[in-house]
Amino acid sequence: MDTPSTEIEKREELESVVIRFAGDSGDGMQITGTQFSTATALMGNDLSTFPDFPAEIRAPAGTTYGVSGFQIHFASHDIKTPGDEPDVLVAMNPAALKVNLPALKKGGLLIVNSGAFSSANLEKAGYDKDPLTDGSLEGYRLLVIDITKLTLDAVKPFKLGAKDAGRCKNMWTLGLMYWLYGRDRQPSIDFLRAKFAKRPELAEANIAALNAGHIYGDTADLPTDITPARVPRAELAPGKYRTIDGNQALAWGFAAAAQLSKIPFFYGSYPITPASTLLHHLAKLKHFGVTTFQAEDEIAAIASAIGASFGGALGITGTSGPGVALKGEAIGLAIMTELPLVIVDVQRGGPSTGLPTKTEQSDLFQAVWGRNGDAPLPVIAPATPGECFDFAILATRIAIKYMTPVILLTDGFIANSAEPWRIPDASKLEPIEVKYHTDPEGFSPFKRDPETLARVWAKPGTPGLEHRIGGIEKDSNSGHISYDPANHHKMTLTRAQKVQNVRQILPPATLEQGESQGDVLVIGWGSTYGAISQAVEQLRKRGRRVSHLHLRHIWPLPAGLKELCGRFDQVVVPELNNGQLARLLRAELLVDAQSFPKIAGQPFKIREIVEEIENRLAQKEVSR
C-alpha cells in the first residue's frame, strides 16, 4: 500500500461511495472503471459495477450518443447493486456532463475536464452557454481541472504522437481518483506494463499520467469541501476472492463442467452483444476439452451444437434474444430428439435489434414458450454474475441427466457487471455422471429411465446400436417414425413430464429474506436480485411485513410456490419487461401476481422498488 498510515488518519471515513466515470467512447472510461474496480476489490471493499456503453463503437467524438459510462459502488458493508445515484461524477467532456448530470446526487462531487470544454464540444453536446461558468452547477461540489493539458505535460518526456498522448488522460483521472479514495496504484501499473508490453513507451507514459494525477491530488490546492476519503474494508465471509463478470463466470463454469463430466464440450456461437465475450472466453479454454466454433449464423451455431450432442459431446450455444428467435426451430429438434444441449440467452433490450447494449429481461416468454408445438424445456436463471459459474454446471447437469435442451437466461447487466466472488473449492464440485448406452440387447433409442424419463444416450460409433432419430414423431417403443395419434399424445405428455421431473434435483420455493407470511411477497428473477434484496431490507427495517423470493428456476417452477404466495396479502413482481413473469405466475399458479415493470434498458434503482411497495401498502391501508 503506498498511502502512508498517517495520511489515512486525515481521511474522512465513508461507508459507501458511488462513482460514475463518463466520457466519450474513445476516452477509455471502461478501462478506467475496471481498473478502479480491481484496485477497490484489492482494498477489501464489497463492490458492484455497471458499465453502460453506447451501441456505436466510436460514435462521432463529443456527441451525447457517444457517451460511455462506468458506475462503481463500493462499501464497507455488503452491497448488491451498483447504486441508485452517483455521489461522484467524473465528466471528461461536455456531452458526458450533459448526459450524466441529472443522475448525480444533489451536493455530489463533480469532477470536470475543462480541457474538453471547447466551444465546438459545447455545441455538439447541445449547450448554448458554458455550464462551467453560467452558474448552473452551483448545487454541486465542483472540481474543474484541465486534465487534457496536465496529461500532455506529464507525458511530454515520452514524445508520443498527439493522439497517443491525449489518450493517457483517463489514467491521469484514475490517478486522481486513487488519491481521493486511497487506492493502491501498483495493480494498475502492472496492468499497463502487461497491456503495452510491445510498446513500453506507451506503458511508461500512461504510468506517468497515473502518477501525475495522484500527485496533483496530494499537492494542488483543492477547494476545502473536497477532501480525501477512505472506505474501510467490508466484512466479507472469509475466503479467497476475485472479481468476476457474468460471461466470464459462465465460461469458467462450462470449462469446469467439462472436467466434472469428463466428456468433450462443444460451443457453437455467432457473435452478438452482449453474448460475444462468452465465445471469446471459451475460445481460450480449449485445453479444458472445449471445442469452439464460430458458425455462419445462429441457426448453424445451434445446429452444430446439436450435431455435437448427437455425437456424444455436450453441445452448447450462446446468443441474445434475436439469436434465440432464429434458433427456435432447432431447439424444437433438440426437444424432439431428446438430446442434451445448453442454450445461453444473454438478454438485451428488444424486440428486434431493440437496445443492443442495454439490459432487459424480456425473453422470458420466448424461453419458456417460444417454439412451435408443445415444446417444453427447463429454463434457469442465475441472479448474480458469480452464480453464473454454478448455473453453467447446473445447466449441464440437467441437460445430461434429463436428456433435454436447457435454456440459461442471463442479461446484459449480469454479463458485464463485476462483483467480488468467493472462489469455490474445485475439489468440492460434484462430478456430473454421464452414461452412454452400449448394450444392444433390447435397445431402442427411446428407452427411458423410469425415474427421470430421460431416454438413453446412444452415440454413433457404438457397435450394434445403429439407429435413426429425427424431428418426426417417433414411436414410444420402437423409436421408428410414427404418425399414430395416440402415440403422439403419449409422447407429448412424456416429454412434458420429463421436464417437470427436473424438480427432482431442484430445491423447493425458498424465501431469500423475511417471514413466510406477511403483507407483500416480492418475487423477482435474474439480475433484479440486488435491487429487490436491498429494497426489501430497507422496507423491513421500517417494520414493513415484506418478504423476498427470487426465482432461479423458472421452468419448471419450484415446488411449494403457490402455497407460499397464498400466505401473503399481495404478490408483487418487479421485472425489466412488461410483466412476463407476473403473467406466467398468474397462468400457472392462479395467484394474483401484480406486475411492476421497468422497460428502460436500465436496471432497477432500489428506491423505485421501495416506493412501489410503500405505495401498494398505503393503498391497501386506504381501501381497508
Partner: protein
C-alpha cells in the same frame, strides 16, 4: 461384432419400408449407396447419414447405420458439429435442391469453404418434391408448377458452380440410374475434405423427364461426357465428339473430330485439379459433364480444429479448475 465378417449390401438396408413414389430416382441412388458402402466402410457403426427435409432427406431411415433426419436446410451445420465432436465418424450429408440451395444455401456455402470432411450428396430433381411440386432454385425458367402457374421467371443456379464458387475441393456429378454412380460415390468417399456430389434425380410425379436428354436409353449416352483424369474429353455414340477450348471466348465448345479440320490434338485433356477447367465443364452446350469435375485436396477443417486443440493442450498444459479460478488478481479475507 461384424469386424471380421465382410459387410454386404444387406447389412446397410434398414428394416424400414421404403416410402418414395414408385419409379422415384431416389430408389436407384439408395441402391448405389448400399452397394458402395460395404466396399468402403470398415465399421458400420462409424457411418452416419445426416439429412435435412425433403423426399431426398428421408434417405437415412432406409440405411442401417446411424442416421439423423434433421430440419430443413441445416444438415451441413449439424454434420459439422458431429464431425468436430467425433472426427472418427464417416459422415454423409443427404440434401435436395431446395434443402441445400434454397433454405440451406448459407450452410452449403460455409461447409464447402471450410472443407469439413463429409460426403455431401445433393439429389437434384429441379423441384420441391415433398411439398408437392413447387419450382426450386434449379428449376428451368418457364417451369409451370402450382406456385408458378404462368411459368417461373427466376434464373436457376448450377449447383456445381455454386460449389466451385464456395471453394469446394471436390465436385462431382452423376445421375440416379447411371451404372457409374457407385464409382463417383467411391471417389467422393476417398477424398478427404468436403466432397460435393450432385446427383441428377428424376421425380416422376412432379418433374418427370427433367434429365431425359441424358437418361434416355437410346439418345442419352450421346449427351453424357464421362470425365477421366488425364484423358481427352470425348463422347458421342461413336466417340466422335469432343470438347475444345475456344481461345477467343475462353469457352468450351463441342466439336466433331474430322470435321472442320478438328483433330484429336484439339481436344481438351481432363485435369481434375484444374479449377478453371472444372468451371468450364460445369455447364456445357448440349452435353452434360459427369464424373469428377474437380478434385484438389486440401487439409480438412476438422483436422485443423483437432490440431489446434492439441496445440492448445500442449501449450497450456493439464487443465485445472483451481488454477483457472485463481488466475489473475485475487485477495484473501480472513
Amino acid at each position: 461384432m461384424s469386424a471380421h465378417v465382410p459387410l454386404t449390401r444387406k447389412d446397410f438396408a434398414s428394416d424400414q419400408e421404403v416410402r418414395w413414389c414408385p419409379g422415384c430416382g431416389d430408389y436407384a441412388i439408395l441402391a448405389a449407396v448400399q452397394r458402395v458402402l460395404p466396399e468402403v466402410v470398415e465399421k458400420r457403426e462409424n457411418t452416419v447419414f445426416v439429412s435435412g427435409i425433403g423426399c431426398s432427406s428421408r434417405f437415412p431411415y432406409y440405411m442401417n447405420t446411424y442416421g439423423f433426419h434433421t430440419i430443413h436446410g441445416r444438415a451441413p451445420a449439424i454434420a459439422t458439429g458431429l464431425k468436430l465432436a467425433n472426427p472418427e465418424l464417416d459422415v454423409w450429408v443427404i440434401t435436395g435442391d431446395g434443402d441445400g440451395l434454397s433454405i440451406g444455401g448459407n450452410h452449403f456455402l460455409h461447409v464447402l469453404r471450410r472443407n469439413v470432411d463429409l460426403q455431401i450428396l445433393l439429389f437434384n430433381n429441379q423441384i420441391y418434391g415433398l411439398t408437392k411440386g413447387q419450382y426450386s432454385p434449379t428449376s428451368v425458367v418457364g417451369k409451370v408448377t402450382p406456385s408458378t402457374p404462368f411459368g417461373s421467371v427466376d434464373a436457376p443456379v448450377i449447383p456445381a458452380q455454386v460449389a466451385l464458387g464456395a471453394a469446394a475441393r471436390f465436385v462431382a456429378r452423376g445421375f440416379d440410374v447411371s451404372k457409374e454412380l457407385p464409382e463417383v460415390l467411391r471417389r467422393a468417399h476417398q477424398h478427404r475434405g468436403a466432397s460435393f456430389v450432385e446427383i441428377l434425380q428424376n421425380c416422376p410425379v412432379f418433374n418427370d423427364g427433367a434429365f431425359v436428354q441424358i437418361t434416355d436409353r437410346k439418345e442419352g449416352p450421346a449427351h453424357q461426357l464421362w470425365l477421366e483424369h488425364g484423358k481427352p474429353m470425348r463422347f458421342g455414340v461413336n466417340n466422335e465428339k469432343g470438347i475444345r477450348l475456344n481461345p477467343k471466348t475462353l469457352a468450351a465448345e463441342v466439336v466433331t473430330i474430322g470435321e472442320d479440320g478438328v483433330t484429336e490434338d484439339d481436344i481438351l485433356v481432363h485435369d481434375e485439379t484444374n479449377r478453371t477447367m472444372a468451371w468450364l465443364l460445369s455447364s456445357l452446350p448440349g452435353v452434360v459433364a459427369l464424373g469428377v469435375l474437380y478434385c484438389d485436396p486440401a487439409p480438412s477443417y476438422d483436422s485443423a480444429v483437432v490440431a489446434q486443440n492439441e496445440l492448445a493442450k500442449n501449450k497450456l498444459g493439464e487443465p485445472s479448475i483451481d488454477a483457472l479460478l485463481n488466475s489473475g488478481e485475487t485477495w484473501t479475507v480472513q
